[in-house]
């Protein structure tokens, strides 16, 4: 049992720090905050990572991955978060990319992977449907084969950034007989195809990142099918456990907690800082202690994956606890803002208002409510643990 860093690990850490320090500059950061420049800023940042060779730590080296060991990945992620560097958009790099290199044809790999790595294609995810919710497999979007094409009709919902996307990876129903998990296929669909319509959804944070994507007889070449027809559920499932592990977001929660501490030191009530208030301290440490544990729970899962295991039901634990902690952090930050949490974005400047972070704290909190719903609701995760780990 050993969590010491070797000298080469420490050297790597220095390299990571130096890179972020230089490449993640303030000009770029300011462009993330403005909706009109957001998309370009994301692409530019991801291209910088690509140039450095660090765009895909999770991929095998042969497909463009970094070839890092578990310790290096851990260091990278920790430093990224500590430096406040935003994570990459996951849909291409962490979701469809691994599916393509694991289950795609050679032609698909050659066609799609390079453009995912270089961020020349923006991907989005077409899993959820209105009627299905956490019962993902009951999806109804239908693909009927006609010659060399599938004709897709139906609708996907909660699709993040569909308004920017060049491609969408979809689960579609190609067969209605048998178990609902059978008869699902995994299709890659060009978002510029005729018959696709993107309907924006404004979310509870007054923001537009979610969408409904309609498919009206959209024609998709059979060459865009991943693996075998009707076997898409298998490919999707492999992805889900990885997604859940990533969702825990422990480093980001830790960083946010550090930020909260500095805010709380400045926020004064009745002459005393919130940070010196024992009840506030208790809320802080309730979270910090769980996060200290969760950080090691994640390491334990990663270590077991590194030694050949697959993230199984333990990833559900990470998802549940990780999102609970995210929400607790978001709530604490919002409470810190007191009544300034109520202000809408873009209403007044911080100077006019007399407060810095209230509006953003609330938006993060409100949108954060989704984290216990998406990726398989936390209730479904508990069902998974009950069945797979506890044998109930």
């Amino acid at each position: 049992m050993d969590t010491k860093f070797a000298p080469e690990d420490l050297a790597f850490r220095e390299e990571v720090r130096a890179f972020f320090d230089e490449a993640y500059d303030e000009e770029l950061q300011s462009r993330f905050k403005d909706l009109t420049t957001f998309k370009d800023a994301v692409i530019e940042w991801q291209k910088r990572l690509y140039k450095k060779g660090w765009i895909a730590p999770g991929w095998p080296k042969e497909y463009g991955g970094t070839g890092w060991n578990a310790t290096q990945k851990f260091i990278y992620e920790t430093e990224r978060s500590a430096a406040g560097v935003r994570d990459v958009i996951p849909f291409g790099l962490n979701m469809v990319g691994p599916v393509i290199y694991s289950f795609g044809t050679e032609e698909q790999k050659e066609r799609f992977l390079p453009r995912i790595l270089s961020s020349d294609d923006w991907w989005c995810q077409g899993y959820s449907e209105t009627g299905a919710g956490s019962d993902l497999a009951s999806l109804k979007t239908r693909a009927v084969r006609e010659g060399d094409e599938y004709v897709v009709s139906g609708a996907k919902i909660w699709t993040s950034y569909a308004q920017y996307a060049d491609w969408i990876f979809c689960l579609v129903r190609t067969n209605s007989e048998g178990k609902k998990q059978d008869g699902i296929s995994f299709l890659l669909i060009d978002m510029h195809s005729p018959g696709i319509k993107v309907n924006p959804i404004v979310s509870i944070d007054n923001h537009h990142s979610l969408n409904e994507v309609e498919f009206n007889d959209v024609r998709v070449p059979v060459a865009n099918l991943i693996g075998e027809q009707d076997k898409g559920w298998t490919y999707a499932k492999a992805l889900l456990a990885h997604e859940r592990t990533a969702i825990a977001g422990v480093p980001d929660s830790k960083r946010s907690l550090t930020e909260i501490r500095s805010f709380a030191a400045r926020e004064v009530n009745g002459g005393k800082s919130l940070l010196s208030d024992p009840l506030f301290q208790k809320r802080l440490s309730d979270i910090e202690i769980e996060l200290m544990a969760l950080e090691f729970t994640e390491l334990r899962v990663l270590a077991s994956v590194a030694s050949g295991g697959a993230p199984g039901a333990e990833s559900s634990l990470l998802k549940i606890k990780g999102t609970e902690m995210q929400q607790a952090v978001q709530e604490l930050r919002m409470d810190l803002a007191a009544y300034y949490q109520g202000v809408l974005p873009n209403e007044l400047s911080a100077e006019q208002l007399g407060h810095e972070f209230g509006s953003q704290a609330r938006q993060t909190y409100m949108y954060g409510r989704a984290s216990t719903i998406y990726g398989g609701s936390n209730e479904v995760q508990k069902n998974i643990i009950a069945k797979a780990v506890l044998g109930l």
């Binding site: 909660w158 979310s203 509870i204 009530n269 109520g342 989704a370 609701s377 508990k382």
Partner: protein
């Protein structure tokens, strides 16, 4: 000992309930929220005609002579519709201060106008630094000639944008956070030196930051006694807290009912999600949280004019309970509505935002728990 309402109270409640039901649906509310003023003068006028604006005022000024129970009943029903019109700001806070501390002349002039719906008011008590301390005041009122000169800034003033008059808490003596030395002054919002910057909050209301720049008011503008403002503030905030708790209770009831209804119809894995025992037990928890909040609200109202000497503790407890129950209830409402729960389109999130704003008004749960602890266990 009984928990029944009088026939008159029942009629008042039904009147508000019917109006919300018939004339204040979610789409109506949405369009009012999108209007520049964040309220509807037309609806306000109807409130006046229905007599709701007269509830707390003495009969000599044309009021209904109602009790805190009446305020509670009105606010609970207004909560069910997340009504945007400034009942709290104009009737409970502004009107309440006039009723408690106003001179005969002030009352005679303004209360009838509030009742008829032609006067909007606000209470400007918050400052940038004050957070939840009502006595943390740097705005000053200096005696000058036959009156006062006011300087300073108030923030997040409810109904500040629509108010004809604002009652401002200013320091006439004492240290920054001293409860002594606070004076309440009635200021017309069109007085020279009053500058308003208005903006919208998440719950749809339009509020203002108000700068007072050498604003001059006559001596008769004092509400209550010079340096004696804190007692008045405390008294009106007590009633306002009960009013907000009642509004919150109305909201919680709606959230629970809507969530329950949704889980009975929404199907997953082939069955209504309301059939899952884990969800059932959580909805029992939200049901219990609602009932416990109602009990504490009733307790606070009874304590107000009862034999108890413990109204302050009761108000702190109520605020803690509203905060906790509110978070639990809107949290479960959003979670159980799944993806729909986090859309702007559904009403659930709007109920949640109003609850959040109520929680942070006059001090959040943590603040009031600390106050409760101080009162009950210290010394």
């Amino acid at each position: 000992m009984n928990f029944d309402f009088t026939e008159e109270q029942g009629m008042l409640r039904d009147s508000v309930a019917r109006y919300i039901q018939d004339s204040y649906d979610f789409d109506t509310r949405r369009s009012i929220a999108a209007s520049p003023e964040g309220m509807s003068h037309e609806h306000w006028q109807t409130f006046a005609e229905l007599g709701w604006l007269s509830v707390p005022f003495a009969e000599e000024h044309g009021g209904f002579g109602g009790s805190p129970v009446d305020i509670m009943l009105v606010m609970e029903e207004l909560g069910k519709g997340i009504v945007l019109e400034p009942y709290l700001a104009t009737v409970v806070l502004f009107g309440g201060l006039l009723e408690r501390g106003g001179s005969a002349a002030q009352q005679a002039e303004l209360i009838p106008r509030i009742i008829e719906g032609s006067c909007q008011g606000a209470f400007a008590y918050l400052e940038r630094q004050s957070r939840h301390e009502l006595a943390d005041i740097t705005t000053t009122a200096k005696a000058q000639g036959d009156g006062y000169q006011i300087n300073g800034e108030k923030v997040v003033v409810f109904n500040g944008a629509n108010a004809d008059y604002v009652i401002v808490s200013a320091r006439t003596s004492g240290e920054q956070s001293a409860t002594d030395g606070i004076t309440l002054l009635l200021v017309p919002t069109d007085a020279a030196g009053v500058e308003r910057v208005s903006y919208r909050l998440m719950d749809g209301q339009v509020v203002s930051n108000i700068v007072f720049n050498n604003v001059e008011v006559p001596a008769e503008s004092v509400i209550g006694a010079e340096n004696g403002g804190y007692t008045l503030i405390n008294g009106v905030v007590t009633i306002a807290t009960i009013a907000l708790a009642a509004e919150a209770l109305g909201i919680m009831g709606q959230l629970n009912a809507k969530t329950l209804e949704y889980t009975k119809t929404r199907k997953q894995f082939g069955v209504a999600i309301g059939s899952f025992q884990a969800l059932q037990h959580r909805m029992v928890d939200t049901f219990m949280a609602y009932e416990q909040t109602k009990s504490l609200l009733y307790r606070a109202v009874c304590e107000l004019d009862g034999q108890g000497d413990d109204i302050a503790a009761c108000i702190h407890a109520l605020k803690v309970m509203v905060d906790r129950s509110g978070r639990l209830i809107f949290g479960e409402a959003i979670q159980l509505h799944g993806g729909m729960g986090i859309t702007d389109e559904l009403d659930i999130g709007h109920y949640a935002k109003r609850l959040m704003m109520i929680n942070t008004t006059f001090g959040d749960g943590d603040y009031h728990q600390a106050q409760f602890n101080q009162l009950r266990y210290a010394g």
